[in-house]
């Protein structure tokens, strides 16, 4: 069965210069292991290939639980000089949540 990340987790995007941060927080803590297994930095890099040009680092926060993705070269130069519509990349949390998982 295929599900969308949107159905089991929430996310907020943040920006630091040209770097995008994306949290990924399961609604149900029991889904953390599934996210940890399937939503690897490599898979996210592939999913966001139209958006993120640089490296993606994943941090694990089992205590919350949540994952945090830090994506380099993701904001076409950063908020001040970018020509994109969403210069902060604030809407990109919902780009991550478009990802499909097989469960």
């Amino acid at each position: 069965m295929t599900i969308k990340l949107y159905d089991i987790a929430h996310s907020r995007a943040g920006d630091k210069g040209n770097t995008l941060t994306l949290s990924l927080i399961p609604y149900n803590a029991d889904d953390y292991e599934l996210l940890k297994m399937q939503v690897t930095a490599e898979v996210v890099k592939q999913h966001l290939s139209a958006i993120v040009a640089g490296e993606i680092t994943r941090y694990e926060l089992p205590n919350l639980p949540a994952l945090q993705f830090v994506c380099q070269q993701a904001l076409t130069g950063g908020v001040t000089t970018s020509l994109t519509m969403d210069t902060h990349g604030k809407s990109l949390s919902y780009a991550l949540l478009e990802m499909q998982l097989t469960v």
């Binding site: 907020r12 630091k16 941060t21 941090y59 945090q68 950063g78 001040t80 020509l83 809407s91 990109l92």
Partner: protein, 441 residues
């Protein structure tokens, strides 16, 4: 000493709503109200306003906010801490005195200066983002170091009703009153780390109380968004914090809303660097202890860094934009034809040109394969360049699609705006000499 200190956050950015801060000052039973109003670029823009008029350069909403808040702050004995001084904290302090005199309210304002390090930079310092010298980005127009709690404490010690600063680290606006009230040591990295967690959770105001969290579908539905309340925290001397909001305001405070805010703009969650501490968020525990009440414990930290981050503004030229809409049969194809025409007409004169199809791929830069034919689509073209006149050509070319085609283009708009770019560098914290000036009405 009070057992708990209540700190509210009435604004999470310069353009934030005015009303939630008034409700906090009026009915929040606060000890401190913080207004966080400075983003990276805000201060560089403020430096430009100051250059045009030396009496300006503070937050454009300062007068409106102070006018509304001052009677409640004084009546309820709430101290205000804010970075609305932006590029000109002294002028901001004087403006507050002027307002207090008009309202015949006696007030003392402590002004924190010393973040402006423009005169100390040569331009040869290397930019953290690129590794190149700062001056390679463009003509430098401002440089402001992030001051910390140690710069705010002497201002609090004056007993002033209002503490106004320029560039300080956002969490320090909250850590400073905690250190001041509880006598925490700045060397107690775990306490300061927990204080930083509290500040980070509060600093974006409505982002903690369900505002930026809300999605009408399912588990993210939030009640009464139109009357969204801003948060406060009750903090104990041991650092334990319980977050809440004023009864009767809209929104929701839950473990889920707190988790989203805890990780907002965080790079390495085990190393969140501020002028006060290198905070560790990985052991934070969040627990719902009542309706719209969330407890946060477990923030930690290690010793503060010897360097401070400096935000450097540079002249980034101009961005010109043009937009036009297409609707009905073949709308996307007609918009794409228009985009191709503009591209061909402008590409030789712009190294940085962007063509977006609003309603399809403009925001995520992809649509992940969702390709239903949209009923309407808006073409948007943007280009960045140095001369303002050339930037204006982008909008002119888009507007000219009216008569030159393709068919049915409508609602053209054109814009030109000045760009202030931002790069960062580091400065030895000992090179700074923060100063406090006390003003009285």
């Amino acid at each position: 000493m009070k057992e708990t200190i209540r700190i509210g956050c009435g604004a999470g950015f310069s353009g934030d709503r005015l009303e939630p801060a008034v409700i906090l000052a009026q009915r929040g039973q606060l000890d401190y109200l913080v207004l966080e109003c400075l983003a990276e670029r805000t201060i560089a823009l403020a430096q430009k306003r100051k250059r045009q008029n030396p009496a300006l350069g503070y937050d454009p909403l300062l007068e409106r906010r102070i006018d509304l808040l001052l009677p409640h702050l004084i009546a309820n004995n709430v101290r205000l801490i804010t970075n609305m001084g932006a590029a000109n904290p002294l002028a901001a302090g004087q403006k507050i005195i002027e307002i207090a005199q008009r309202l015949t309210i006696p007030v003392t304002v402590a002004v924190v200066t010393g973040d402006d390090v423009f005169a100390q930079l040569t331009g040869n310092e290397s930019a953290l983002e690129t590794g190149n010298p700062l001056s390679a980005s463009g003509m430098l127009i401002s440089a402001n170091a992030y001051l910390g709690t140690d710069a705010i404490l002497p201002a609090l010690a004056t007993g002033a009703n209002i503490v106004i600063t320029g560039r300080v680290a956002d969490p320090s606006l909250f850590v400073a009153p905690l250190v001041h009230e509880f006598g925490w040591s700045l060397d107690d990295a775990d306490l300061i780390g927990q204080g930083t967690v509290i500040g980070h959770l509060l600093e974006c105001a409505g982002q903690l109380t369900g505002g930026y969290f809300a999605d009408p579908a399912g588990p993210k539905a939030i009640p009464d968004m139109a009357h969204l309340g801003h948060p406060f925290a009750d903090v104990s001397a041991n650092g334990r914090a319980v977050f809440g909001k004023v009864a009767g305001t809209g929104g929701r405070l839950s473990v889920a809303t707190a988790k989203e805010q805890l990780l907002y703009e965080v790079m390495d969650p085990s190393r969140y660097i501020t002028p006060d501490v290198v905070a560790d968020f990985t052991q934070v525990s969040l627990e719902e202890v009542g309706p719209d009440q969330v407890q946060a414990t477990g923030g930690r930290g290690t010793t503060r860094p010897n360097t401070l981050k400096v935000s450097v503004g540079y002249d980034g030229g101009y961005i010109g934009e043009g937009e036009i809409s297409y609707a009905g049969a073949n709308a996307l194809d007609r918009a794409q034809l228009a985009g191709t025409i503009i591209q061909e007409r402008l590409q030789d004169r712009f190294s940085d040109l962007r063509i977006d199809y609003i309603g399809s791929t403009s925001v995520h830069r992809t649509n992940f394969g969702h390709n239903p034919a949209p009923y309407e689509i808006r073409l948007r073209v943007a280009g960045r360049t140095t001369p303002a006149q050339l930037a204006a050509l982008v909008g002119e070319e888009v507007e000219a699609l009216y008569t030159n085609g393709p068919a049915g283009g409508g609602g053209a708009r054109k814009y030109v705006h000045e760009v202030v770019g931002i790069v960062s560098t580091l400065i030895d914290r000992h090179q700074l000499t923060p100063h406090v000036t006390v003003l009285q009405s």
